[in-house]
Symmetry: C2
Subunit: 339 residues, 2 copies
């Protein structure tokens, strides 16, 4: 992602730490305490205390959160698509600034680039306006490169159009922020954008591998598990990674290849089990089965599960064990969970 950004003069990478939630990962993704994006107040505080002062808290803010956010210090920029929240930000003594959230086609948060609300909110923010921000979450619905490129261009053009309209009306719009891992990688150009937010690229997952963000081999996060039961009559083993350890995310259900609750790899993280997947989960049980006969596995044999959706799987765990090319542990990395 750093290489993508380096190809665009003037563009800044503001990686989204919602996936990794780790200062150890931030040291790689945003070295030198560069700008970052966060998704919770807990992340904002954690990263600010560690030295990352330039943040965007990229979930629509509410008035009752402003005191907490202002108390963190640093330069935490908020986002809003609501005039009431904009007024509360402008009136807050903490000096907090905010970006207007732009809907570029996902239909989640944001106002559209051509809307009148764009002006109402910007005017309510007044001197606290820091820019505009878009997230093309609907890129996750794309399945081929031309569709992804079109979504990326819709995101770019939408957020730049919103910035242009505000500037024509006399507002200063220093930040024009877009980003998701897929659109960042599929955009033909990024003219007018000042910064890219992307997060899932740091670890990758089975879903992102299917929409062209990276290859299967690039998936950096797996769940280590062990065999707790052997069921050869149904070509299955039970493992101690279930719904809590993997999450119930079924992202790949709608992808070309449905991996159930995750792809089963060997202890070294190699795809040597013939495409076996976690077909069922219970709270602490996963059932691994596959199209080919499973190898003989002893009770306690260790396997790894590659996740459907790495953000949710990572959130189930208190920290990361870092392994080298095989499976020797070479470190433990921190995480900030909860809110």
């Amino acid at each position: 992602m750093q290489a993508v950004v380096a190809r665009h003069p003037g563009l800044v990478l503001r990686p989204h730490m919602k996936t990794a939630k780790s200062v150890d990962v931030a040291a790689l993704a945003a070295p030198g305490f560069g700008p970052i994006t966060v998704s919770t107040i807990a992340e904002a505080r954690y990263f600010a205390e560690a030295g990352w002062r330039d943040q965007i808290y990229a979930v629509g803010v509410t008035p009752q959160k402003l005191d907490q956010l202002a108390a963190i210090g640093g330069d935490i920029k908020l986002i809003t698509d609501d005039v009431e929240a904009a007024r509360a930000i402008a009136d807050h003594p903490g000096g907090l600034r905010a970006l207007v959230e732009i809907d570029v086609g996902e239909g989640r948060g944001g106002v559209t680039p051509e809307s009148d609300e764009l002006f109402t909110i910007a005017t309510a923010l007044g001197q606290r306006l820091a820019g505009v921000l878009a997230h093309a979450g609907h890129s996750y619905r794309g399945r081929d490169n031309p569709t992804m490129a079109a979504t990326a261009e819709a995101e770019r053009a939408g957020v730049v159009r919103a910035a242009d309209r505000l500037r024509e009306a006399g507002h200063a719009v220093p930040i024009v922020s877009m980003g998701s891992s897929p659109t960042a990688l599929h955009a033909a150009h990024l003219d007018g954008v000042t910064e890219l937010r992307a997060g899932v690229y740091m670890f990758g997952d089975l879903f992102q591998a299917q929409i062209g963000t990276h290859t299967l081999e690039d998936i950096a996060l797996t769940v280590l598990t062990c065999v707790t039961g052997r069921k050869p009559a149904r070509n299955a083993v039970l493992v101690d990674a279930g719904a809590l350890a993997l999450s119930k995310d079924r992202s790949t259900e709608a992808a070309p290849h449905d991996y159930g609750f995750g792809l089963t790899l060997d202890r070294q993280g190699r795809d040597t089990l013939g495409g076996a997947i976690v077909a069922r989960t219970h709270q602490e049980h996963g059932e691994v089965t596959g199209p080919s006969p499973l190898p003989d596995l002893a009770i306690g044999a260790r396997l790894r599960i590659a996740p459907n959706h790495t953000c949710l799987t990572a959130a189930a765990h208190p920290h990361y064990w870092v392994v080298d090319g095989s499976d020797a542990i070479i470190g433990q990395w921190a995480r900030v969970n909860f809110w």
Copy 2:
């Protein structure tokens, strides 16, 4: 659940703490440090340190976990359906005992009551055999009282049959354990069973309400959230409880009423929003919509979400805020997460 058990002389309640994972809840569910069931080694250690010494760790054990479990002390009984694991238990110097897991129709873990493996495993355990245990997880597939009662009877008859066969062969089988919240409540009788394990009944959820475990009004756990965006054009609001705060569990997808990712209640926990549900989730966003027009809600307005599957939703949070009949906080209860 205590009343159900009290109707059966000699029957003991061994509540499953995997849902609540809280000493404060255990003090109500297993008062006087009564027997409990746990699902992780972290739970086993946490509850043993707090005084609950009589435990069943009810997930198939593996040899590499025995040292950790033995080091906890207390009386932690294991389960297994594998002769290799049974031999490791019998050979372990820690004196750990185990129950043989019986498959009474779910087709997850366990050996069937009529199998030869039942004897092989019991013989391998030798003096370490503590009993037999069944879990009719397939009760969750039932949708009416006669089906639930039949599943409960299959669970009871299966585990008692396994105990009888082992006793006929000369084994002592002190514990005959069955249980899930639905089968415990739907069983016509429990002859031959010595203890009931059930856990989700402590909090309840939208799925259990639909299979007759309790009523909607009995759901004791909700996620407090606030409105982060207003989208009247699509009769929706965005809230700050998303996939991480609610879990991605979609249990009610296959139930008579599909609640999406949860039922939206007002701040006092009352069903006054006309059946509005969380229809979509992203990591930190939920989108609430419903069949009736939503009331006017300010930015920051507080709502509560009743969960599809309380075990998974509770696991997303570091502790519980205890509220009285309205929404005044009267305490904080602990939880033990992770493994």
